[in-house]
Amino acid sequence: MNSEHKSGAETPVIELRTVNKYFGTHHVLKDVSLSVRQGEVVVIIGPSGSGKSTLCRTINRLETISSGEILIEGQPMPAEGKELAQVRSRIGMVFQSFNLFLHRTILDNVTMAPMDVLHIKRKDAEEEALKLLRQVGIEDQARKVPAQLSGGQQQRAAIARALAMHPKAILFDEPTSALDPEMIQEVLDVMTSLAKSGMTMVIVTHEMNFARNVADRIIFMNDGAILEEGAPDEFFAHPKTERAREFLASFRNEQKESEL
C-alpha cells in the first residue's frame, strides 16, 4: 500500500465507529460514526446541546463512551494508564476557556508537557516553544503569566501549547466563543494557517464564515446524531435537512441583528 496517496485505503487519523454515549439515562451521542483523514479539516456545527463538545471530548477520552469504538491511527483507544496518556499526547486539544496553567509563565505552559511527557531537555523545549510562540504571534509574551494576556493571546498560547507535542491532530472546542469580538479574528487566522499547513483538525465552532473557508467537510449535529455531512459549499448552499436549514437561518438572522 502506498501511503503517499490519499487513497481510500489510508488509515484515518481519527475514526469513530457507532459511538454511543449516555450521561445517566440521557442519550447524548447516538450511533456516531466519523472518520478523519490525515490533513483533513472537519468542522462540527449544530445547535446548543447537540453533543458537539461531548463528541470532541470522547475522541481523547476526556469522556468515556458507552458503546462503539474509537480508533486513533487505526489503534483502539486504550482505557487508561500509560497507553492512554501516550495516545492523548498525540491528539492536541484547545478549549473554549483556554485552560492555561495559571501559575506558570506562557513559556512554561508550552514546555511543560514536552519536558514531562516526551522527556525533551529544557533548553530544546524552550527553543521549540519560542518558535511556536513566534508562529502564533506572541513571542514577546513568553515570560508573562496567563492572566497578563488578553483572551486572544491566551488562546493562541493554548494553540502553541498543543502544537508543542507535535500532535497528529488537534481538536478545537469552540475556541473563539469566550473571546471579545475584536480578538476572534486573530485566533481564527492562526487556525487558518494551521489548516493550510496540513494539520489534521476537528473544530467545533459557530463561526460560519470561517467554517466555510477552512473546512474540507462540515458535520451537522443535532440531538446527539450526525444529521448531515458534506463539503462546505454544498452544505451551506443546499442543506439537505429541514433542521440544518432552520439552524443556518437562525444564524443568518442573528448575524443580521448584530449588524444592525
Partner: protein, 219 residues
Amino acid sequence: MNIGELLSQYGGKYAIALLTTWKLTAVSFALALALGVLITAMRVSPIRPLRIIAGLYVQIFRNIPGVALLIFLVYALPYLNLIFSYQTCVLTATTLIPASFCSEYLMSGMNMIDKGQIEAARALGMRFTHVLRKVVIPQALRNSVLPLTNLLVATMLTTSLASQVPMNPMELTGLVSHINTHSVGGIMAFVISAALYCATAILIGQIGSLIDRKVRIVR
C-alpha cells in the same frame, strides 16, 4: 519575682526556650506540610484504598486532642514494646495533627483550581502523578498560603505539648512550669513566654501575607 529579676536570672533560658520552640515548630510544620501533601494526593488518587486510608487519617487526627495523642504515644505505646524518645513522641504529635489540617486546607485550595486546567494537562498526555505534581499541588499550595500561615501559628502553639514531658532543652511553656516549680516566677514568668509566642505569631503572620501576595495566582 518581677520582670527584671526574672530576666536577669532566666534571660538566657528564655532565649534558648524561644529557639527550641522555633525549632520544634519548624520541624513539625515541615513534616506536617510534607505529610499533608502526601495525604492530599492520596485523597484524590484514583486508587480507592488510598482514598479511604487518607480520609480516615484526616478524620482521626483532626478530631483528637494533642494531649491525648501525646499521652498515648508516651504511655501506651511502651505496652506494645514501642518505646520512643520524648522528643520523638512530641514531634510525632505536633506533626500528625497539623498534617490533617494541612490536608484540609490543601483540599479547599484544590477546589479553587478550574477543572479545565486538569483536563488540559490530561489532554497533553500528562499522567496522574505529573498532573498532581506540576499543576494541582503547586496551585493548591499557592491558594492556601493564608490558612497554612495560620496553621503554622497553631503548630507553634501545639509545641507547648512538650511541656508535658521531660525535655532538654525546654521550650517556652516548659520553661514557665520549670520556673514556677523552682522559684516563684508567678504570672510574670508566663507573661514573658506569652509575649514571645505572640511576637512570633505576628512575625509569621506578616511573612505569610507577604508570601501570599507574592505567590497568589492571578486569574
